[in-house]
């Protein structure tokens, strides 16, 4: 609990955390509100429920970045020295960071859903565009799980790589060029890649035929996070802090 509290304090005591979360909510709110409020009604009917996913890729990138910072700030700013002096069992520190990443992911997902549902669902309802409740729950569940796993993915990748810029660049490549990997190496293998699995988890329209099911993709992404986390813990235990 001590280490968890410390990691939580580390997260909430830097402005970047609030800037990233605030940006996510602002972008999501603007995207959801403007698209559902201004787009042609027939188009909205045709795209339903994809409209609810407006802003999801950027939100995922921002939350991934937050997770990556949670792990790599220690090395970027040299605080790993003090951290590992106070807690020589380094695996406990990484475990606490992953746990905090999980909590942040859940909080971010709930905020995302609250903003999206509050703006998009109410605007669509006011404009007479029906939204299937079951579909909306599926979309929000997928988006929520995607955000949580995106954050954990950032923490785990950061713990493994340590270098902040490298971690964020690799993460952005995975998230921004997702779909491209499957295109080049084929969907049979490509669908198991993190970016493609994330697309499937979040129920991105047009992916059902080519990518994994939401549940399978969630399991694949979760397993990827777990593998990265284990590798991150192992590397951190034996890594020299210079």
């Amino acid at each position: 609990m001590r280490i968890l509290r410390s990691e939580w304090l580390k997260l909430v005591s830097v402005p970047t955390t609030w800037i990233l979360l605030g940006t996510m909510l602002l972008v999501e709110g603007l995207a959801a509100g403007l698209v559902t409020g201004l787009a042609d009604i027939e188009e909205l009917r045709a795209r339903n429920p994809a409209t609810l996913l407006i802003g999801t890729p950027l939100s995922t990138v921002l939350i991934f970045t937050l997770g990556a910072l949670l792990a790599t700030n220690e090395y970027r700013h040299g605080t790993a020295n003090q951290t590992f002096l106070i807690t020589p069992r380094r695996e406990q520190v990484i475990a606490a960071k992953l746990a905090v990443g999980l909590v942040v992911g859940v909080v971010a997902a709930l905020l995302y859903i609250a903003v999206n549902a509050g703006l998009a669902l109410s605007t669509l309802s006011n404009r007479g565009v029906p939204v299937d409740g079951d579909l909306a729950v599926d979309v929000y569940s997928g988006v929520g799980v995607g955000l949580v796993l995106g954050c954990i993915f950032g923490v785990a990748l950061g713990a493994l790589l340590r270098n902040q810029i490298l971690t964020i660049v690799i993460g952005l490549v995975l998230f921004l060029v997702r779909g491209v990997i499957a295109l080049f190496i084929g969907t049979d293998v490509g669908k198991y890649f993190p970016g493609e699995a994330l697309l499937a988890v979040q129920g991105t329209p047009g992916t059902k035929e080519t990518l994994l099911s939401q549940v399978d993709a969630g399991l694949v992404l979760g397993a990827t996070c777990l593998a990265l986390a284990i590798a991150g813990v192992a590397v951190t235990r034996y890594r020299e802090i210079t």
Binding site: R2, I3, S6, L9, V14, T79, N81, T83
Partner: protein, 300 residues
Amino acid sequence: MPEITVERLTKRYGETLAVDDLSFVVEAGRVTGFLGPNGSGKSTTMRALLGLIRPTNGRALVQGRPFHELSNPVRTVGASLDASDVHPGRTGRSHLRTLSAAAGLPNSRVDEVLDMTELTPARDRRVKGYSMGMRQRLALAAALLGDPKILMLDEPANGLDPQGMRWLRDILVALAAEGRAVLISSHVLSEVEQTVDSVVVIGAGRLVMQGSLQDLIAGDSRPALVRSPRRDELRDLLEQAGADVTVDGRSDRMLVHRASLEQIGTLAAEHGIPVFELTRALSTLEDRFLELTGESGNVR
């Protein structure tokens, strides 16, 4: 048992030998200066003691045990390796709270160490607005959080103004007087010579000497700095006595080699020559180190 034991410690990074068969001990109740030129292996040795890096050979022990085997590391060792090791976006207080939380210490302890390091007025300012001296104080505050028996500080005087230097000297001496072992590294002898009781001098990763400050100074051949309104007259007398004298332009200063302070003072008094200043000229540890070893202090 010594508080710190370094036993035949060797650390190699690829082809670079950072620490080479180094052995020394640090006792409680003393301020020990860990001296050596830049790149001589001081920080590497401290990191080995703190379990942050693994020795290639030998042992680095705290209270007879490797750091990771200490039952309560926070209460045993407080360390500051780099005053810049802090997130610039945090306030001084929040930085310390992240550490005290991990150590299971109450928030009141954070306020205590902020008071001790005279940072209370700046505690809610973001660290990016701190001067180097304030960061040094914050680093010391972090090291003191657990009220440890051993303090290890890497170049704690860097960036301190004269007032800060005096403050650091006083607090380190007071901490040692409470029975703590204090190990401070420096590459500038003059920075620590008024603070330390004993010294460990290394160069190129090897032990050059360990002993009291007096042992180090005993062989001091730094020139004497002399100021006198009758400089030229005193210079002639000193040269007749066998000293080498270098005059400093038209000022009243000169540098005197091959004569002790006592010899110079006595000679001036015997001839009724007033002396305004008589002291050892400041020199860096590199100078002293080169005197001791007669070779380059660079890491091989």
